[in-house]
């Protein structure tokens, strides 16, 4: 029997007080594609970063092709034939593709011969794997998909026998993802070993041979893909039975709260992010926006939340909003009755170094209720209110003095939600409400959102989790490339149809 291409034995890694990996052991056979799944923060990226020498494990052993191979640094990993495409690319933005490729594996002290050799080799690889990129283009001018190709080429140029890809499809269109999978299959056919980290069970089922599940820093199980199914994988991931549908009464939509017409956003780099969005949300209704990350959902939330400027017309309760950013910002939006749960709670929704009580007035600090007098804030009142809110939202521990960074992800999200929902807004913008949140908290959060809807409020929900969209929304709009591809009712559609729309396939063509 052949030795496994990779064998990890008792790997542990702590970042200060956070135990990211706990005693992990795993074997991957050569010539296979091995999937790894797990919730956010489960420790997947950490484990792979250890394998490719980016982090150093606190304990444990690594065997490559059966021989003990210590990997103290990236150099050792490269020597061992391991290449990794990171979740966040490791490219020098203002270098050319060629320069990025040769970085670290130059031939001799002068660049010219190295570049010439790499150019030839790149041509060769491009032909062989259909990985075409302009060798002289600067990385910053390339699309994300092409940048990923450069990362793969980098690994292949270094003669990697083991290729690790960390959430490679998160940034890709379905078509690009399909092409990536074709390349992976070809590499597997050549006998290379591939580790694929993804959140998408569909991809796992589609391409992997075996799959490992991680939870809370530990490896819970490894199974043959053909012996399992998505439902079972999901259960292994979160550690208990997953509730797929939310209990909710049919919606009782009222008048239009939000009317958006021909909304356009161009970002700082001059790229059109929203290309004429039109939609509406009524009182007592949840409109879910589905789509692959990076298709403009974030910009939609930001322009509605007053963070970025745009053009077009947006009516809130029939009154026009200023989109130019000149007389409006997040604060004036709040005053108009728009609350906003941002997609990235750690960078936007919360100040991680602030205590919980300081965070519960974030964005609302000018509310007269929080002022002791004309000059000073009434911190006592704020603390008292925070304690009450934490109670109601079951934030644990219910300590208003604790800094936000010291709460777990789920509890951080509850603090944000408590702040925004309890404002009783006419419209709630909510992005990725349950990202990285455990199942118990998910149920709680979903319940609160439905309650808000039932109280006659309008909710615009953005989520990359199709399941969440399907179970929460009363109507679903699908975004692709800055446009709305179509609208569906949850009862009359399924993941397959939505998936096609998300891939930019119009109904006529479908």
């Amino acid at each position: 029997m052949t030795a496994p291409a990779i064998e990890l034995n008792g790997i542990s890694k702590a970042f200060g007080p956070v135990q990211a990996n706990k005693d992990i052991s795993i074997r991957v056979m050569p010539g296979t594609i091995h999937g790894i799944i797990g919730e956010n923060g489960a420790g997947k990226s950490t484990l792979m970063s250890i394998l490719c020498g980016f982090y150093k494990a606190d304990a444990g052993e690594i065997f490559i092709n059966g021989t003990l191979t210590p990997i103290p640094d990236s150099q050792a990993a490269i020597r061992a034939g391991i290449g990794m495409v990171f979740q966040h690319f490791k490219l020098v933005q203002n270098f050319s593709v060629l320069e990025n490729i040769i970085l670290g594996v130059e031939e001799g002290a002068l660049l010219r011969p190295s570049l010439a050799k790499a150019r030839k080799e790149l041509q060769h690889l491009a032909d062989e794997y259909e990985l075409r990129v302009d060798p002289d283009a600067l990385i910053q001018d390339l699309s994300v998909g092409h940048q990923q190709r450069v990362e793969i080429l980098k690994a292949l140029y270094r003669k990697a026998q083991i290729l690790i890809l960390d959430e490679p499809t998160g940034v890709l269109t379905p078509a690009e993802a399909d092409q990536l999978f074709r390349i992976l299959e070809r590499l597997r056919a050549e006998g290379k070993t591939i580790i694929l980290i993804t959140h998408k069970l569909r991809e796992i089922m589609h391409i992997t041979d075996t799959v490992s599940v991680m939870r809370r820093g530990q490896m819970t199980d490894t199974v043959k893909t053909k012996d399992t199914n998505p439902q079972q994988l999901a259960e292994m991931m979160v550690g208990r039975k997953v509730l797929l549908r939310v209990d909710k009464a049919p919606a009782q939509p009222g008048a239009n709260v939000l009317e958006v017409d021909n909304l356009r956003v161009t970002d700082d780099d001059g790229v059109d992010r929203l290309k004429g969005i039109s939609l509406n949300v009524r009182a007592g209704e949840i409109l879910g926006i589905a789509g692959v990350a990076g298709n403009g959902q974030s910009h939609l939330m930001q322009v509605l939340g007053g963070i970025t400027p745009g053009t077009g017309t947006v009516l809130l309760n029939g009154q026009e909003l200023d989109l130019t950013g000149k007389s409006s910002d997040g604060r004036s939006r709040r005053k108009r009755g728009i609350a906003h749960v941002p997609e990235d709670r750690q960078h936007e929704g919360l100040i991680m170094d602030f205590s919980a009580w300081e965070n519960t007035v974030f964005g609302y600090d000018d509310d007269p209720a929080y002022q002791a007098n004309a000059l000073l804030m009434d911190n006592g009142a704020i603390r008292a209110e925070t304690a009450a809110k934490m109670e109601r939202f079951d934030v644990r521990p219910p300590d208003p003095q604790l800094a936000a960074k010291n709460f777990s992800g789920g509890n951080q999200q509850k603090i944000v939600l408590a702040r925004e929902i309890e404002r009783n807004p006419d419209l709630l913008l909510v992005g990725q409400p349950t990202r990285g949140v455990d199942i118990g908290a998910i149920e709680f959060i979903h319940k609160r959102l439905v309650e808000l809807r039932d109280a006659g409020k309008a909710i615009l929900l953005v989520s990359v989790e199709l399941e969440e969209i399907l179970s929460l929304s009363d109507r679903i709009a699908v975004m692709f490339d800055g446009q709305i591809m179509g609208e569906r009712l949850p009862g009359e559609t399924d993941e397959k149809e939505l998936g096609l729309l998300m891939a930019g396939v119009r109904e006529e063509a479908a």
Binding site: S74, K90, L91, Q93, L103, G104, L111
Partner: protein, 321 residues
Amino acid sequence: MDYATLLQVADSTVRLSVPLLLACLAGLYSERAGIFDIGLEGKMLMAAFTSAALAAVSGSVWIGLLAGIASSMLLAGLHGLASITFRGNQLISGVAINFLASGLTVVIAQAWFEQGGRTPSLQGAARFEPITLPLAETLQGVPVFGPLYAELISGQTALAYVGFAMVPLTWWLLFRTRFGLRLRAVGEAPEAVDTAGVSVIRMRFAAVAIAGVLCGLAGAYLATALQAGFVREMTAGRGFIALAALIFAKWRPWYALSATLLFGLLQAVALRFQNIDIGTFTVPVQFMDALPYILTVVILAGFVGKAIPPRAGGEPYVKER
């Protein structure tokens, strides 16, 4: 202004530009590798002192030069330790180094030479003498070019020639060699360098060390070539002008040459023509003194071509929080 005066101003410009150029290139290496260096001034000052002190004691300018470089590298190492190894704030470290040099030079000089914080005057072999290039005498008579060659090109000190030679050398090193590729990469995207199997720490220390050497040359030039000995605060803000020139030059070697020559020219002009009378009103000498800084602010404001620093500049490279 006649040709001879022009040549004289040019000559003065060259002399005054050399320390700026050397320090500017020092900053260029460091900042290209992602380590901001506002401690150029301190390193120069320290080198000026040690080079003068050792040259005075030993009687040999070369020993002085080596000592100057060594002391500047010591401070550079401290900067590296603080900002690379211990991921401290690079700006604060630079500020500390400037103060350290400003204080230590005088304290040591006073204890050593008891001349109020200066070194004895350097004589003969303890100084860099001007080098007369071949044919300087012979060509003197050739119109226009002759005097130019004899007075401007010939007759500078060894360190001046080294300074100017550093410009093409730096360009070649940065853009044509493996070392340069890695050095630039480490200032733009250290994680890319790290995952490519190259030590970020080592690259950054190398860059900081080169900056130390160049600041050492700059300081030694001040004390042993331009002048004959050390006096307190003799760098007189040149490190900051060099920093300004670096921004002005957008972190590029050839631009650095032009920027430092420009700032050197400003100094030379301010020296030569205290208050400049331009018809209706006089430009006060203080305005000329402030001009490099004003120009830098204008450049920084992005009104005249934006200066974009290396992307990872100023940030310690942290893998694990």
